[in-house]
Assembly symmetry: C2
Homo-oligomer: 259 residues x 2
Amino acid sequence: MEYSQFIDAAYRMADASGELIRADGQKSFHVEKKGDGSPVTSVDQATEDRIREIITAAYPNHGIIGEEHDDVAPDSEFVWVLDPIDGTLPFLAGIPVFGTLIALLHNNTPVLGVIDMPMTGDRWIGCAGMPTVRNGDPVRTRACASLSDAMMSTSNPDFYDATNVSALEQMQERVNWTVYGGSCMAYAQLASGRIDVGMDVQFDVYDYMALVPVIQGAGGVITDWKGNALDLQSGDRFVAAGDQRVHEQALEILSVTAV
Amino acid sequence: MEYSQFIDAAYRMADASGELIRADGQKSFHVEKKGDGSPVTSVDQATEDRIREIITAAYPNHGIIGEEHDDVAPDSEFVWVLDPIDGTLPFLAGIPVFGTLIALLHNNTPVLGVIDMPMTGDRWIGCAGMPTVRNGDPVRTRACASLSDAMMSTSNPDFYDATNVSALEQMQERVNWTVYGGSCMAYAQLASGRIDVGMDVQFDVYDYMALVPVIQGAGGVITDWKGNALDLQSGDRFVAAGDQRVHEQALEILSVTAV
């Protein structure tokens, strides 16, 4: 299967999303707290609506799973997984690490991923069988032999609870640096060789599916905390690394905590 | 004293700094750990060198305090306080929240501040007697009557130690949202009415002097944890708020912890 045939449509989705986010990002907008306490804005919803329109017009037989609306045919051969604004809290605060995540799964395997950063104009695209590109240029993860040399990223320390905060603390003790709050930008920069290991908890499928082809196509590894490949049945914890050796060292710590 | 006479030179410093950072930001560069364990790169040093050249040429009688080199005449009537890259860790990781901070103090009072964000092209300038501007347009903090409605920002939770972590926890319990890792961008966005309260610890004068005129000129308040104005003798903790009421509520919590 030639998955590159879907790249053009994914570009159009990201273009439309970025336009809406940039247009509304400086204005005041309506904010609500969702059931889980996380924020959602009218911009999230309008952006996901627009992406869904593009999918439905181009691929009426594909399924859609998005953060802001109900699933459409989630058992289809092809399923798009969408987060219109990953990093809604930074978006509300005007911190330019939020982005649009678009993934395409074929038979429950992520084969295409877009990380689009509307405030910096950067776009990463990963597609099975092709090298990951940032703004058209191929990117690669960097070599890192040991966690002790690693730059680690995690989004929000408050997401960690009693079941996994010790895993975070153990990782922090082992790595060289820890950077917080990078949101999806951090995983894009892992693909570009600026960050060595990234981990998060309390993430849903639309928060991480797009990261998989981007990181794999740049030479990196991304799995759950037991080392399993990520699919629609995965749990809420994952770990990504640019170098297989660091991924293995991280799993030694995280797999003990994995549920 | 008409402090706006210094704005043109401050612009030239920020222009030069942004050019150097953008040119080198995508390349690999030399990184060292400083004595306090924080990172410093060859880009920090080259950028501060360039800003110091501009100051020395334009104002040979002014003092200079910068993060990367020794103080020059720090008891002068006018002193420039520089952080070439505030947020070196995000800079290393490619997270676009780092920026250049340039402050001018007159008789130990900050009267001019620049927050320049080289990756998004945003520049905030505050100058005593004038409204703060972002890219030339005036900005204002937003009204927020209560901490319970507030969006809070703090840079790095690891900076908090046994003497002040309880203050962070109490603040987190009171506010509506907490966003991490925003670096100087968070204080700029506080001036623009996107964030209501910001606090940090283990910051030095070059990390916060530029924030003072930017926040005050937008209608906000910034002091140490006891409510004192910030000058070159201030300690390493400060708190900023867009609304005086939130600042007072924060001080009730923080002043107990203040040393």
